[in-house]
């Protein structure tokens, strides 16, 4: 797991930083980081690349399975997708007061996509960056040190907030659609303490509503970022052959545990989407 040329143990800080830096368009050329926390002149190419690749894979599978649906003899992938779909549909029927056409596909897609994006974390941490470095330096004459690649899109705030904000937009949409504009405003004024504490209510409800997308996005990001970092740290253990067994043991243990984490995180994101949208489309009580 050594980096291509120099021994990584020589400079672990640089190794970690290199792993946590995105392939970036529009970043500061010196630091390879965006200029500020929120900088819309920057695009992370690796995040987009892997998201689009995995979305493409998902679309291809969805198209294949959707076209060859078998009523009598469902095959392996169809069975698997049917189980997830049925579970999603049952959750929605339990929680949702009315039929909704978008929530099912939304939660279903979130679960599958997030799971696959998270799964990138289980690919050996140095494999794809090393490959990128080799391709970059061999075919494009780039300095190997300037080739950055982060392979886990969900360890990037942009991806998690892209989904969280989409869900937030739908929360607002459903609130206004079901309760009406005035009903939605009234919720801010009267919830949860009644009309006489309206100022408190506005603050409370606003915080409550903002917390929904924030927690959705940060939870997924935090889990995957920590997972990625831990893989990088375990990879650092290869500084001497004596600790190799320890590195292998820790790597296997964390990878196995991480299978659980990536599944649970995908599941939580999907389920909370249903729950939040279910709350949003409840009538005023």
């Amino acid at each position: 797991m050594a980096e291509s040329s120099e021994p990584i143990s020589a400079n672990p800080v640089e190794y970690i930083q290199h792993h946590l830096t995105n392939w970036c368009l529009g970043c500061n050329p010196k630091t390879d980081e965006p200029a500020s926390l929120i900088d819309f002149s920057v695009i992370f190419v690796d995040t987009i690349l892997f998201s689009v690749l995995i979305a493409g894979l998902l679309m291809w599978v969805a198209y294949k399975v959707g076209k060859n649906l078998s009523l009598e003899k469902p095959g392996g992938i169809q069975n698997f997708l049917e189980a997830i779909l049925e579970f999603t549909d049952r959750q929605i029927k339990d929680i949702f007061p009315r039929r909704s056409r978008i929530v099912g596909p939304l939660a279903f897609t979130i679960f599958l996509w997030v799971f696959l994006l998270n799964f990138m974390d289980l690919i050996p941490v140095d494999l794809l960056p090393w490959l990128a470095r080799w391709i970059g330096s061999t075919f494009f004459g780039a300095d190997p040190h300037d080739v950055y690649l982060r392979v886990v899109p969900t360890a990037n705030l942009d991806t998690t907030f892209a989904m969280a904000l989409s869900v937030f937009a739908l929360i607002i949409f459903y609130n206004i659609k079901i309760k009406g504009g005035w009903g939605y405003a009234k919720m801010f004024l009267t919830h949860p303490f009644g009309i006489y504490l309206a100022p408190v209510n506005v603050v409370m409800t606003t915080v409550e509503e903002i917390a929904k997308p924030l927690s959705l996005g940060l939870r997924l990001f935090g889990n995957l970022f920590a997972g990625e970092l831990l893989f990088v740290l375990i990879a650092l253990l290869s500084f001497a052959w004596v600790v190799l067994p320890l590195q292998v043991f820790l790597g296997v243990a964390w990878a196995i545990y991480h299978i659980l984490i990536i599944t649970v995180q995908a599941f939580i994101f999907g389920l909370l989407t249903i729950v939040y949208l279910g709350l949003a489309s409840e009538e005023q009580h």
Binding site: G26, D39, F40, I43, I48, G104, T109, D158, A162, L165
Partner: protein, 156 residues
């Protein structure tokens, strides 16, 4: 750990993905599963109906079998009754016929006796005349004493 224009890109990718999955997987699959549910329910209902029909058919068959048995035994009884009637009739006929034949034979015998008796009487009269002729020889004219002789013969 920054928020960048990638966010916009990811939202677009996400939206397209959701739309695609909805159109090409979620809806067809949900419809298919609905149809499968319906087909299974139909199949179960048909099976139940079939079973019920079979039970009814068995009951009907049993009933027909019972009826047939009953009719058969009725027919056999009737035939036996008829047979004994025929035998009785035949017996009666035979007895009557026998009696008739016996009566006819008796009357024949009676006639035969009468006839024999008549001819015997005539022969006796003739013998008596012949005897008398022997005794009387010429004194008795057969013609003149015919009435006397007949009377005699009648008394024999």
């Amino acid at each position: 750990m920054n928020v960048t224009a990638t966010l916009i890109g990811q939202i677009i990718v996400f939206a397209v993905l959701v739309w695609f999955v909805k159109a090409f997987l979620w809806e067809p699959m949900l419809n298919m599963m609905e149809e499968r549910k319906k087909r299974i329910a139909d199949g179960l209902a048909a099976a139940e109906r079939g079973q019920k029909e079979q039970e009814e058919a068995e009951q009907r068959a049993q009933k027909q079998l019972d009826e047939a048995k009953q009719r058969a035994s009725e027919i056999i009884n009737q035939a036996q009754r008829r047979a004994s009637e025929i035998v009785d009739e035949a017996k009666n006929d035979a007895r009557e016929e026998g009696e008739r034949i016996k009566a006819a034979a008796l009357s024949d015998i009676e006639q035969e006796i009468n006839r024999a008796r008549e001819s015997l009487r005539k022969q006796v009269a003739a013998i008596a005349i012949a005897g008398a002729e022997q005794v009387l020889k010429r004194e008795i004219d057969a013609k003149a004493h015919r009435a006397v002789l007949d009377d005699l013969a009648a008394h024999i």
